[in-house]
């Protein structure tokens, strides 16, 4: 990937600013068609430039149209295309380093732009915060699904497009003048009556501006609100150690990990990094290695629980007791020498409080602690952000006592955060002391705790100024609406998890003239400069004092980080016992939940987060990693609770998935939503995902799901108890991408415990069926492709390590982004017509109270004897000499025969014109419909490529498409191509570099498929299997490598590495074989030789339909 990233320092600044949008752009691109592209693209340039010309034309017209409505600020560097920027080749993508800011961190990125529009997000492989790796590690860095999907939000047609005053359009200048007038108004009174409500941010610039403004407006009050707030990690560490510190977890060094409701693989900050670290700690290259062991105690079924070796599901109140018991056990088992009175007293108190826990649970805790103690400094205890302070204190204390500090956890400097809370702001508002309220980002009307009655409270401010990316719920009750620039259009900065400063640099001029947070702050504070570019430069000037500034700045932008800017680690000393004791006495234990005293857990949604991504179609349609539900949130309950309450999700074998709608009452507030029976969930606990039920999200997200915020109060932001579920008698149709959860004893995902793996590292292949053993006699009809493959230079293949894969689905979004995969909407998902080329299959095995979950990324397996190819009547799917199963969209007539014959069902069919029609009108015939006042048939007659999307949607959404990949029309089968476009680019580049020499083999692992590149775990390895040293060849040679459905003799080019679990034999829930293996044996499978073709297993056990959920 980095080969195309500009490495030179010169000209960087020029390139970081995009060209001024306008007609000249289009003219230039037209003229560029005649430039001799001497880098091997010569043969293609005519076609490419014509297409690109058209695209640029439309993009430019749009930008001109929108951009000229406001008075634009001067652009620092406009590069007229009369002079070609150095190193720019028209039609060749460029890569720029930037970062996506998150709450307390940022995701370092390298973004691909194509002719001025960002089209694909990748991780920044150079970023220094990398887990230490061995030589076999990928040289790339994964991202998370939100970063992958963020490029779609950039082109969201529903983004705030205008400056608004009381709902009316206002000229941009008027809004800016108003901000300046606010600054003038408050300066004489020191900012009294000025309140700012912000989101969390790691931006050094914002911090600097805040302190500057504080000096000018000392009485202005700063508030921070995050519905999902990770600051508790910092608070607990700072409190316990008496220093301003926050923890940085180093899972890659951990041997034993205990998670107390910490969903560090999905719901916590920097999950892409933790997934990577966990994968490293679990790496298994030879049988003498031991993967790390993960203990998880949690209330919901999270991705982290799914990847645990031992998982315990407990309601939140029990979980608190478990944490207390763990601490007590630890003191008992380990701190023998400190048997001082206060320690013993604390342990006794903890133990007393935890006494309601059943014996099996305390046994679990006891054995787990013994294992942690045995591993000593290799252990790590994590507490989830939802847990009360006490649990965090316990976790930090345990880490310290275990000696893990400096090894699996580091404490780094973290400045104190003096900002007030939203509750304080509400009190000020109620008291009428707020004159001007500035809401920077966030969406408090939607997310604020229900008891604050925020809509009413906000109106009490005389003036409300709102900076927001959308005209959403909060905008509706604000006086001024200022459109916020997307991070891909903004200048800014941030700190990643380890504190390294990263730049946020724009890849495109703000599409709708939006402002950034720092610009608004600067204007409000009356500071100069107000230009975010200058602000960030000024901050950077302070951050790096030595060296030539301009040079360092350019390197900063180019590399995407500032070397050596990571927060320094702080030595932490002894634990202050009294703090633990004090926290203990402040934390009240709840009663055991019962059927009518249900505990509620508010969860960050895996897709729309706290609601901020609600209008992102890719994320809405991304199946939840555990439930596989799309386009909705659900009230998740355990099977036992569902039975007690007489609730059941009916499936009718996948035809009509309907969930009963229940009314969830909690302290006088109530919501209604569909239930979902989730195996493994704690009993008498409901999980509510936040972020749904938006009323003004946009055309994608409005009205999707129910709003869990309306239950949530500031006193109990994460857990609440005493809820009551009652039936409403109505049902609700859900869109779930996977109907059947059991593997039915088939050896699809193969796994074993560590001991089995050590005894026989080829255990996965041993489950192959008899029929897939090589035949003794040569084939009567040898595959003609076999000969071709020997002559071809490359043979592409993929290996997926199920040991590393956690099922985060970043790959799914990456694939969607790279390959122009449309979303289809909830009704179409209900008909199983989602278009994902790559999906993550999820299976449950074992008892419904606590099943084991298995993930399997499933994509086109590129079979060498591909069943799809032989049945296509029109030669639309064929094999090439490099082993790819190629789909010729132009040739496809859409018989769908190939899909029927595909054993993996990875081919997707475009049933409607998903790209060209709005979701609500997919099945409306153009014969009877009209768009923008024109009969659709006539529209089609004028322009058959146009479709029936409204103008704004059409103009923006086509910008997100990857120009290297065909946008498929309806009636065409499509599927994973192994990112053919990337393969070809790599080959072309190699040929150009090879010049006259004959060394045209692409270097091993010099490029990646989109899924591989996005995978934070490094679970996916793609490359040339013909080259013995390529990562994929090495991976395929691993003893754990196996093929799915081996008995069909498909010779699939995608192979999987079997999963190895590392359970603790001393644990009460230990079982010698994974549940899936048990089921396989029960269905007649054999650990040596797969399913027997001789022995007759009874028909009943051979497959029992209807065994769902």
């Amino acid at each position: 990937m980095n080969r195309t990233q500009p490495r030179g320092i010169s000209n960087d600044r020029d390139r970081t600013r995009r060209r001024n949008a306008g007609a000249s752009d289009a003219n230039e691109s037209g003229a560029l068609g005649h430039i001799d592209v001497s880098h091997g693209l010569g043969g293609m340039d005519d076609v490419v430039t014509r297409r690109h010309f058209v695209k640029i034309m439309s993009a430019s017209c749009l930008l001109a149209g929108v951009g000229l409505t406001g008075c634009r600020r001067p652009v620092e560097t406009i590069v007229p295309f009369t002079r070609l920027p150095e190193g720019y080749i028209h039609g060749v993508s460029q890569y720029y380093a930037t970062a996506m800011p998150t709450r307390d961190s940022a995701v370092p990125l390298v973004v691909r732009t194509h002719e001025g529009r960002p089209v694909k997000i990748e991780g920044n492989a150079e970023h220094p915060d990398q887990p230490t790796t061995d030589s076999q590690e990928h040289h790339h860095r994964g991202t998370d699904r939100h970063a992958q999907a963020s490029v779609l939000s950039l082109y969201d047609p529903d983004r705030a497009r205008r400056f608004g005053r009381n709902g009316e359009n206002a000229p941009r200048q008027q809004a800016l003048d108003f901000l300046a007038s606010v600054s003038r108004k408050f300066e004489p009174i020191g900012g009294k009556g000025l309140h700012l409500l912000m989101e969390r941010s790691s931006s050094p610039s914002r911090g600097r501006l805040q302190s500057l403004i504080r000096r000018r407006l000392p009485h202005a009050q700063w508030h921070v609100y995050e519905p999902v707030d990770y600051d508790v990690h910092r608070q607990a560490a700072s409190l316990l150690f008496g220093k301003q510190v926050r923890p940085v977890f180093r899972l890659e060094r951990a041997r034993r990990i205990l998670s107390l409701d910490s969903d560090f693989l999905a719901a916590e900050e920097n999950s892409h990094r933790t997934i990577h670290s966990l994968a490293i700690s679990r790496r298994l290259n030879s049988s003498d290695q031991e993967p790390s062991r993960l203990y998880v105690a949690e209330s919901l079924y999270s991705l982290t629980g799914a990847n645990a070796d031992h998982r315990l599901s407990l309601s939140p109140s029990r979980l608190l007791l478990l944490a207390e018991l763990t601490c007590a056990e630890f003191i008992a088992q380990s701190i023998t020498k400190h048997r001082e009175t206060d320690t013993a007293k604390l342990a006794g108190e903890l133990r007393r409080r935890a006494s309601p826990l059943p014996h099996s649970t305390s046994q679990w805790a006891k054995t787990c602690v013994a294992d942690l103690v045995a591993a000593g400094p290799g252990s790590l205890v994590l507490a989830g952000y939802r847990q009360p302070l006490l649990v965090h204190l316990i976790a930090h204390a345990l880490n310290l006592w275990l000696g893990s500090v400096g090894r699996t956890v580091e404490y780094v400097e973290a400045p104190a955060r003096p900002e007030l809370s939203i509750a304080d702001l509400a009190a000020e508002l109620e008291a009428g002391r707020v004159d001007t309220l500035v809401v920077l980002g966030g969406n408090p009307v939607y997310t604020a705790p229900a008891d604050l009655d925020w809509t009413r409270a906000q109106r009490k401010a005389t003036t409300v100024i709102r900076l927001g990316q959308y005209e959403d719920e909060t905008s509706a009750v604000s006086d001024w609406q200022i459109p916020q620039a997307h991070y891909l259009e903004s200048w800014g900065d941030a700190r990643t998890g380890d504190g390294t400063v990263v730049p946020v640099q724009p890849l495109i001029e703000p599409l709708f003239g939006g402002l950034t947070e720092i610009e608004v702050l600067a204007r409000l504070g009356g500071l100069t400069p107000t230009n975010p570019y200058e602000i960030v430069r000024d901050t950077f000037r302070e951050l790096c004092k030595e060296g030539v500034f301009e040079e360092r700045w350019r390197r900063f932008l180019h590399d995407g980080f500032l070397v050596g800017s990571a927060s320094p680690a702080v030595r932490v000393g002894e634990v202050d016992w009294s703090i633990l004791s004090a926290a203990l006495s402040e934390t009240e234990n709840h009663k055991t939940p019962r059927a009518h005293q249900i505990e509620v857990v508010y969860a960050r949604d895996t897709r729309v987060d706290d609601g901020r991504h609600a209008n992102n179609g890719w994320l809405q349609e991304l199946p939840d990693p555990v439930t596989k539900i799309t386009w909705d949130n659900v009230i998740a309950i355990s099977p036992k609770t569902a039975k007690q309450l007489g609730l059941q999700v009916t499936d009718k074998d996948g035809k009509d998935l309907r969930a009963p709608i229940v009314r969830l009452e909690l302290n006088g507030r109530a919501i209604e939503g569909p239930i979902w029976v989730q195996p493994g969930l704690a009993d008498h606990t409901v999980g509510l995902a936040l972020g749904y039920g938006r009323t003004a999200a946009g055309r994608v997200g409005t009205g999707v799901g129910f709003n869990a915020y309306s239950l949530r109060v500031s006193r109990a932001p994460h857990h609440a108890t005493g809820a009551n579920l009652s039936k409403t008698g109505r049902t609700y149709p859900l869109a779930c991408t996977q109907n059947h959860a059991s593997m039915e004893g088939r050896p699809i995902v193969r796994e074993a415990n560590l001991e089995v793996y050590r005894a026989n590292s080829r255990f996965a292949r041993a489950m192959d069926s008899d029929t897939s053993r090589p035949a003794r006699s040569p084939a009567l009809y040898p595959n003609p492709l076999a000969r071709m493959s020997t002559s071809a230079r490359h043979q592409w293949g993929m290996s997926i390590d199920l040991q590393a894969c956690v099922g985060c689905a970043a790959c799914v979004v990456a694939c969607q982004s790279e390959n122009n995969i449309p979303i289809v909407g909830r009704e179409q998902v209900r008909l199983h017509r989602e278009m994902h080329w790559l999906r993550v299959d999820r299976y449950f095995a074992g008892p419904a109270e606590n099943p084991e979950m298995l993930n399997q990324p499933m994509l086109c397996q590129h079979c060498e004897s591909a069943p799809c190819e032989s049945v296509c009547p029109v030669n639309a799917t064929v094999h090439n000499d490099e082993g790819l199963n190629v789909m010729v969209y132009n040739r496809c007539v859409g018989t769908r025969y190939c899909s029927n014959n595909c054993p993996f069902k990875v081919r997707r069919f475009n049933y409607f014109d998903y790209h060209r029609r709005p979701l609500a009108r997919l099945n409306v015939s153009p014969l009877v419909s009209a768009t923008d006042g024109l009969w659709d048939t006539k529209r089609w007659w004028h322009d058959p490529d146009r479709g029936s999307r409204p103008e704004d949607e059409w103009n923006l959404l086509k910008l997100v498409q990857n120009p290297d990949v065909t946008v498929r029309m309806r009636g065409v089968m499509e599927k994973c191509t192994f990112c053919l476009q990337r393969i070809e680019q790599a080959k072309i580049e190699r040929k150009v570099a090879a010049a006259d020499s004959n060394r045209v083999e692409v270097e091993d692992d010099s490029f990646h498929t989109a899924c591989e590149q996005a995978c934070p775990a490094g679970a996916i390895v793609f490359g040339n299997v013909k080259s013995p040293h390529s990562l994929v060849a090495v991976s395929k040679a691993d003893a754990r490598s196996y093929q799915v459905l081996d008995h069909l003799n498909l010779n699939a080019r995608v192979t999987y590495l079997a999963r190895v679990r590392n359970p603790n034999p001393a644990m009460p829930d230990y079982h010698p074989r994974p549940h899936s293996t048990e089921e396989y044996l029960k269905h007649g499978g054999r650990l040596e030789g797969g399913f027997s073709s001789v022995t007759g297993t009874s028909l009943k056990t051979a497959g029992r339909p209807g065994g769902e959920r």
Partner: protein, 474 residues
Amino acid sequence: MTKATNMPEAVRVGPPPHELERPPLIADRPGVGWVSDVVARIAEGPTPRWWWLAFGTALLLLGLFIAMVAYLATTGVGVWGVGHPVMWGWAVVNFVWWIGIGHAGTLISAILFLLRQRWRTAVNRLAEAMTVFAVICAALFPIIHVGRIWYAWWLFPIPTSNGVWPQFHSPLIWDVFAILTYFTVSVMFWYTGLIPDLGLMRDRARTRFRQFLYGLFALGWTGSSRHWHNYQKAYLILAGLSTSLVISVHSIVSLDFAATQLPGWHTAIFPPYFVAGAMFSGFGMVLTLVIPIRKLCGLEDIITLRHIDLICKVTLATGSIVIYAYIMEALAAWHAGQPYERFAIWNRVVGPYSWACVIMLIGNVITPQAFWFRKVRRNLALVWILSIVINIGMWFERFVIVVSSLNRDFLPANWGYYAPTWVDVCTYAGTFGLFFTFFLLFLRCLPVVAVAEVKSIVPAADSHAHASGDSNRC
């Protein structure tokens, strides 16, 4: 009535005893001309009211069909219920079903002709017409069910400017050939058989217009013995050709399934199983059509109870082959030792589509057993109802094969369910409009019974009738 007096008494064959005498196939009316009168009257007489009613309904349904196809073509295959993992739904079920219906005509005309089954003559014209129209209905489905209808012609081996031929490994291409050939030969066979009767119609025509049209299509038929000689040779050759096609067309349709590797489809028994099923459903449909037509058109003397009785027997025989195939299919799956194969059959029986399987078993296994009883076979109303049950059963057989194999295959993660939409249902209903529009026009315009052939078996035509005692051999 002559006696072979010079034969020794020992070898002399007397007439069989009365109780062994077979009942006559055709009513014993004086002369042979009455056959022409009865048959030609249907086309020549005034249009009966029932015809207008039926024709109006058929036209409405045809309009529905056209509307549904227009909706489908302009909007996308998504208007149907198909999705993952069941990518083929009613369209393919209907296709196989109509093709199966299209079997009986050629079977009656060709195979029974070669086997010298004289009873075929009364119903073969009707059955052949049914074949031609059913094949038209069937052939439409593979064309309209593709995603890009406007490129469906790529399935035909036409060397286009892009120089890509069809992919000859694909059973769908074999389908194209098999159906086209079958359709062409069926039409030729039907038309060849029509020529003497068209001559008859021409000669009876009262208006110039009719005379011209019938004359045009009668190809100058004079009834000379030379014409008869050539005609019968051609007919025999076509019968020989058609016989192989009767077997091939449905075998190849079955290969659409058998050539895949999907459990439940990938079965070597499919070709003979499908042919038997097709004959079974074809005869079922013949019964459904013949029983009302003989009543409405006054053909009771030509298509007699004997015919119905015999058709029922053939239905019973082919139905038994189908039952045998069901048992073999299950046995083979059990013997495979593969959970996937076993599960496919198990899923059919007790899976989410078990209701379809039950309908199939009622229609195809239980219903034909009634035909063991002569009383049932002679009860026209009952036979008509049973024949419709058989048609439904056979439709569900195809549904079970297509859908309940696809819905749960190898990876349980893919398992799903398929349900048709109103468009699926209306499209299927629309094909009946197409079929009956053609069929009703046929009834009003052409001789619905092969007059010339029936004349050869009327009792009066057999000069040896009572000598050999088996004048109405069947």
